[in-house]
């Protein structure tokens, strides 16, 4: 593996690479995100944003109580978010636990959802506390069952202890398992990394190790995809592109529940990395409740009034 020529795989080269990153000023990053949150997105641009956001949703269910019935319902919703309106696009992917991948893939294929990929959370999600053998097997299982996207978690314990090389090597190992078969999204759990300096460091570490996407959170820890965290990650992918000419995707997940939240995310993308990232190949939003709010806002643009939640399907 060449790691884009940025590191040679040794701990020394990784330390030097991460050591050259400039710091992030917390107050400044939060102020910039807050300023961008004041953008007023109306009429035609709101319609465009809602439509685009729907295609970016990784429709997710990650519960101990998930059953084949629940996952099938989710898949149906993913393919045709609004059964009464075929002009509503399908979502970006469905995101489930490892053991539900096969159910999801089979059902999607059955209902005409071949174009919707299945993403599997992996590597002992959400805590990441398992042996490497288990993490690799977890990933292999998911790919064998039909997952085209792997959402792995990093070992936050290793990261916070300063064992960056261990985190790096884990991502490299999972990247190898994914090969050409699956896209790799690397989850930082930014609510546990806490500082923006750590988020920036984790972003550059994961990108050099072979991530296709960097993702904020598991959805199990708060705070999750706050606008400043996403801003710092977008700045990282922008800088990484300048260094390597490779575009890495970003996936905020957790806490994005309303159309307003989603539009704020799209504004961050637009004014930080620019329009190249405004498509589901490079930007996804991990969410569940968000989709229905997008649908209701979409109806409002057409009808001029807010519908009752009874007019959108619960799952």
């Amino acid at each position: 593996m060449s790691f884009y020529g940025l590191v040679d795989g040794t701990e020394a080269s990784l330390k030097s690479y991460l050591g050259n990153l400039s710091g992030v000023d917390q107050v400044g990053a939060e102020a910039r995100a807050a300023m961008l949150a004041t953008r007023s997105i109306k009429t035609t641009s709101k319609r465009w944003a809602i439509e685009t956001a729907i295609t970016m949703v990784d429709l997710t269910t990650l519960e101990g109580a998930d059953t084949p019935g629940k996952v099938k319902a989710l898949c149906t919703k993913a393919v045709r978010p609004d059964p009464t309106d075929s002009s509503v696009p399908s979502v970006g992917a469905v995101c489930v636990y490892n053991d539900m991948v096969e159910v999801a893939r089979t059902h999607l294929d059955l209902i005409g959802g071949q174009h919707v990929p299945v993403a599997a959370v992996s590597t002992a999600f959400p805590s990441g506390r398992a042996s490497m053998t288990v993490k690799i097997q977890d990933t292999k299982d998911a790919i064998a069952a039909g997952a085209a996207e792997i959402d792995m978690v990093i070992d936050r314990g290793a990261f916070l202890a300063g064992r960056y090389i261990d985190v790096f090597n884990e991502i490299v190992a999972i990247r190898e398992v994914c090969g050409e078969k699956a896209h790799l999204k690397v989850i930082f759990e930014t609510g546990e990394l806490v500082t923006y300096d750590n988020v920036r460091k984790a972003s550059f570490l994961a990108m050099a190790a072979g991530a296709d996407f960097i993702k904020t959170s598991t959805g199990k820890v708060a705070p999750a995809a706050t606008p400043p965290v996403v801003l710092v990650m977008l700045e990282a992918v922008r800088d990484f592109y300048e260094m390597t000419q490779v575009r890495i995707g970003v996936k905020p997940a957790g806490g994005i529940r309303t159309t307003k939240d989603a539009i704020k995310q799209l504004v961050l993308v637009n004014e930080t990395v620019g329009p190249d990232w405004l498509n589901p190949k490079l930007f996804r939003i991990g969410a569940s409740a968000l989709l229905n709010d997008l649908l209701m806002q979409r109806m409002k643009l057409d009808d001029g009034y807010y519908t009752s939640p009874q007019y959108v399907t619960m799952d």
Binding site: S22, R32, S40, T52, P280
Partner: protein
Amino acid sequence: METDMTFEYAPAPESRAIVTIKPKYGHFIGGKFVPGSKHFPTINPATEEVLSQIALAGKADVDAAVKAARKAYTSTWSKMSGKERGKYLYRIARIMQERAREFAVLETLDNGKPIRESRDTDIPLAAAHFFYHAGWADKLEYAGLGTSPKPLGVAGQIIPWNFPLLMLAWKVAPALAAGNTVVLKPAESTPLTALLFAEVCQQAELPAGVVNIVTGDGSTGALIVNHPGIDKIAFTGSTEVGKIIARAVAPTKKSVTLELGGKAANIVFDDAPIDETVEGIVNGIFFNQGHVCCAGSRLLLQESVAEEVLHKLKNRMEKIRVGDPMDKNTDVGAINSKEQLAKIIELSAVGDAEGAERWSPACELPSKGFWFAPTIFTGVTQAHRIAREEIFGPVLSVLTFRTPQEAIEKANNTPFGLSAGIWSEKGSRTLWASQQLRAGVIWANTFNKFDPTSPFGGYKESGWGREGGRHGLAAYLKGVSHE
């Protein structure tokens, strides 16, 4: 599935229906609006639309205003307890908050600044100044400014056009809290929010004559400065006019505070947090179209990071949204007047002639009104006029340095000394640099942040005295050092 990859923000204009602009205004003297004799127009600089006709105060008007202020001072305001004065100030602050949207829309129409800034910065800060000083009104004895501090009397206050209502608040709130009465003249090109403030004084039932507002041009200002019935002059504006005022009041008993020009150094060390630094540079010079006396108009970059910072700065500038100030998504609005635009164009041409390299992002400017694209000049040295003279527009001069010592020497090598910025992740370096810089306000890893509790003012040709905080209060009390 390919999406149409354009995210153009549709127009999001703030409604102007909330404001009622009268076709003609008079002065506010003795608690009443009194008609003027001569008038001049005030326009919207973004469209050149005439908004209203403004009265030009002559000697009789200024005399009447000073007389009303003296009467209010002697009979009412200086006798009132601090606690009672505080109640009026709190009331004014609350009404300003209640009518914030009205003030914001009016400020943007008359000044040309983006509604986002008048809504999120000017008006909330103006109200904050009244709240802060309301709290001092009954605590003056405990401010460390003497055991029995006394007001000066009648204050003549002349304010600029860049932050019309905010500068009014900086002047009026401390004067009233300390027990003075005022005669205030707003800038010729931006009188409307001051006249709305007069309405707020009526609404708050402020005793007649405590606040008097006369409108006019420089000739009205001169009448105030030279009026024998005035005890104190407070001026914010150009260094040129500041010098004239200093000469005029020198042989009199008047106290004076001057808040004048600047040419602030914004110093970027090689260990700066680069992305936030770029935001700070943009905020430092393009906030309020660069019509900011403390603007970070001289960018000093450490050579080892200069290329990276400039590259990111240019990319960032491509995203600046220039245009209709009433659009909620506008970042940079209109230049305040034809005269100011001419000055910016002239000094930028000097930059070209002196061999500096000019760069602006591609941006479409409206055909009507006064506009100037955000601009940077690279390859500037200390010997360039654009590194020494205040442009007071969206124009940044970029210089480089090799060592921290050189940065400080360059930063201090100016007749001004209002503000400075330091960008570094190293606390020891920031503290060291802030001790070396000869500037009244120094920001670390931020720029253009204002707070009523913090004194603001300059060294050298940037002015005399401080406004805001305990220091600002001292400037309106007898027998207290004004430095």
